[in-house]
């Protein structure tokens, strides 16, 4: 007995929709089986809250008098990209504040950058905008230095080319001599720890492994407001190896997402500093999965113990593409506090917040129950396992000196 988006949205409007979180769905399916669960549940909500480096904000700050074509811009001294129209700027989450010593004294602290600017904009704090232009007949002004506030901007749009990774590697350090400082956190020497980064059984794409219900135009929870999926994310890799339940055994699908920062809440958009690595933005995302049929009920009942992640060495394996995974481990085990690698007990840490993911799934559930959030059917699917789309490494072609 299949359901349609239309029927589910009618039930949301009528206040009779049955919504559970992806965590709660596990018990529903255990109890009633996939058919019973599909008959009872209309929507399953998911959540994830983790650093997502490929994020940024697109702002239009309005025209000054006289006008300027901002070919370069800085927000709180963090460089923004100005290679767009006159007063459009794009600030990326990983841009570091000017004058930061970076890793000159390793490991650098990376206290401030684009992610922090985005958080402050969302929080409604005034941000200093500096811009420079080279001067044209139509845009004669060359310098601008002013305070701006999100409420005064024409647009302040979160435009993230890659978020919501479907599964991820578990990072370790095999180097016996030194600790390493990575985007996966501080990795202590000689298998001193193992860091993972996924909401596992609560994670959006792990609950819809073949992207049946998420695609271009899907309405989502983004940073505390409504947002949308606008494209597959960069590095979208639907043909990655999958386990028997369809769940990828490592990083696979990704989403490109967009939303209005003026509606967002800084609680779900947090600037972060990765010691010795750089700055980033922790983004809160949640999806609402329609339980169209038994298959979707089964997918959304996926458990931490059914999702495995590859263990990857970040001292050589990752940076130099050497060797394969050291093994696979499931998320239940990862969340227990330690895992076994090469016969050794290794304590685990993580970068993705499970409690916050749970909170996001709960908020989205609440929105739907109150009739404030309707599901949208994708206007176009994103490439799935049968698409042939894969994530390719760079094939470098040596550049020959030009002969004149």
């Amino acid at each position: 007995m299949a359901k349609t988006y239309q029927e589910i949205n009618d039930r949301i409007r009528g206040g009779e929709v049955v919504v559970v979180t992806a965590e709660e769905m596990i018990d529903v399916v255990d109890e009633k089986g996939p058919a019973g669960a599909a008959a009872q549940v209309d929507v399953v909500t998911t959540g994830t809250f983790a650093p997502m480096c490929s994020s940024g904000a697109l702002i239009n700050f309005g025209h000054s008098t006289p006008r300027i074509r901002a070919s370069e811009g800085w927000l709180n001294d963090v460089p923004a990209y100005g290679g767009l129209a006159a007063v459009d700027l794009y600030i990326g989450a990983t841009a570091v504040v000017e004058g930061d010593p970076l890793n000159a004294q390793h490991p650098g602290e990376f206290r401030y950058g684009g992610g922090h600017v985005i958080e402050e904009l969302v929080a409604g704090k005034d941000v200093r905008l500096r811009a420079s232009g080279y001067g044209t007949d139509c845009y004669p002004r060359r310098e601008l230095d002013t305070w701006i506030n999100i409420q005064d901007l024409n647009e302040c749009t979160l435009l993230n080319p890659r978020n919501c990774y479907q599964n991820y590697s578990v990072a370790v350090n095999l180097n016996e001599e030194r600790d390493i400082y990575t985007y996966m956190g501080v990795l202590k020497r000689d298998l001193g720890n193992a860091n993972y980064c996924s909401a596992g059984q609560l994670s959006p794409l792990l609950n819809d492994p073949y992207y049946r219900t998420i695609g271009i135009g899907s309405r989502i929870f983004l940073g505390g407001a409504e947002g949308y999926v606008f494209w597959p994310g960069t590095q979208h890799n639907p043909t990655a190896a999958r386990a028997g339940n369809g769940v990828p055994k490592g990083g696979a699908g990704t989403l490109a997402v967009v939303g209005d920062m003026k509606q967002m809440d800084p609680q779900w958009m947090v600037g972060v500093s990765m010691y010795g690595y750089g700055v980033s933005l922790t983004v809160g995302i949640g999806t609402a999965i329609p339980i169209l049929d038994e298959e979707m009920a089964l997918y959304t009942a996926v458990k931490d113990e059914d999702i495995v992640a590859p263990i990857v060495d970040y001292s050589r394996g990752y940076p130099y593409n050497e060797g394969g995974p050291l093994g696979y481990v499931d998320y239940k085990r990862l969340r227990s506090g330690s895992i076994q690698i090469n016969g050794r007990e290794v304590p685990t840490g993580s970068l993705s917040s499970y409690p916050k993911a749970r909170q996001i799934a709960g908020i989205l559930k609440d929105w739907i129950q109150r009739g404030e959030f309707l599901l949208s059917e994708p206007v176009q699917q994103i490439p799935s396992a049968d698409s042939g789309v894969s994530f390719k490494p760079l094939r470098e072609r040596p550049v020959q000196p030009e002969v004149s």
């Binding site: 809250f49 983790a50 650093p51 490991p107 602290e109 206290r111 956190g185 501080v186 202590k188 001193g192 720890n193 193992a194 860091n195 947090v270 600037g271 972060v272 500093s273 990765m274 010691y275 980033s280 922790t282 969340r335 227990s336 506090g337 304590p347 685990t348 840490g349 993580s350 970068l351 993705s352 917040s353 499970y354 409690p355 916050k356 749970r358």
Partner: protein, 135 residues
């Protein structure tokens, strides 16, 4: 059992003396070295966490003072900004004393300041910078 976090300052002539090993052995104390260095003036500085019976700690530290080592309580504290903490868990394996630990059932990260020895390793390792030093 009681714990004490103390700063030990050694004058130049005591740097080669095994003061700490005597302290640990003779007064049955457990020692956790939080920080150790020799200053440019060749004064030794050792920040340690000591655990033992109240009586042994009192006697041991009195003996240490008698050797000519200045003993001061550790004045700084690491605190957590509860609003800033995301409960991500990046600090868990960095904390040497398990003052930062995760409750498996809820996956929430807790901070037990009694177990904290103010080593400050968590401060730069916390992505949202929720851990702060207070003097």
């Amino acid at each position: 059992m009681a714990t004490r976090r103390v700063v030990l300052r050694y004058p130049r002539h005591l740097i080669d003396e095994p003061v700490v090993s005597h302290l640990v052995k003779n007064y049955d104390l457990e020692l956790n070295i939080l920080r150790a260095n020799i200053t440019p003036e060749s004064e030794g500085l050792l920040v340690v966490g000591l655990e033992g019976s109240e009586e042994n700690l009192r006697q041991g530290l009195a003996w240490t003072r008698d050797q000519g080592v200045a003993v001061e309580p550790l004045e700084r504290d690491v605190v957590r900004d509860e609003d800033r903490c995301n409960h991500c868990g990046a600090c868990l394996t960095i904390c040497p004393t398990e003052a930062l630990y995760r409750e498996v059932a809820t996956q929430e990260v807790h901070f037990d300041s009694d177990r904290c020895v103010a080593c400050e390793l968590c401060v730069p390792a916390c992505p949202p910078r929720a851990m702060k030093v207070e003097f």
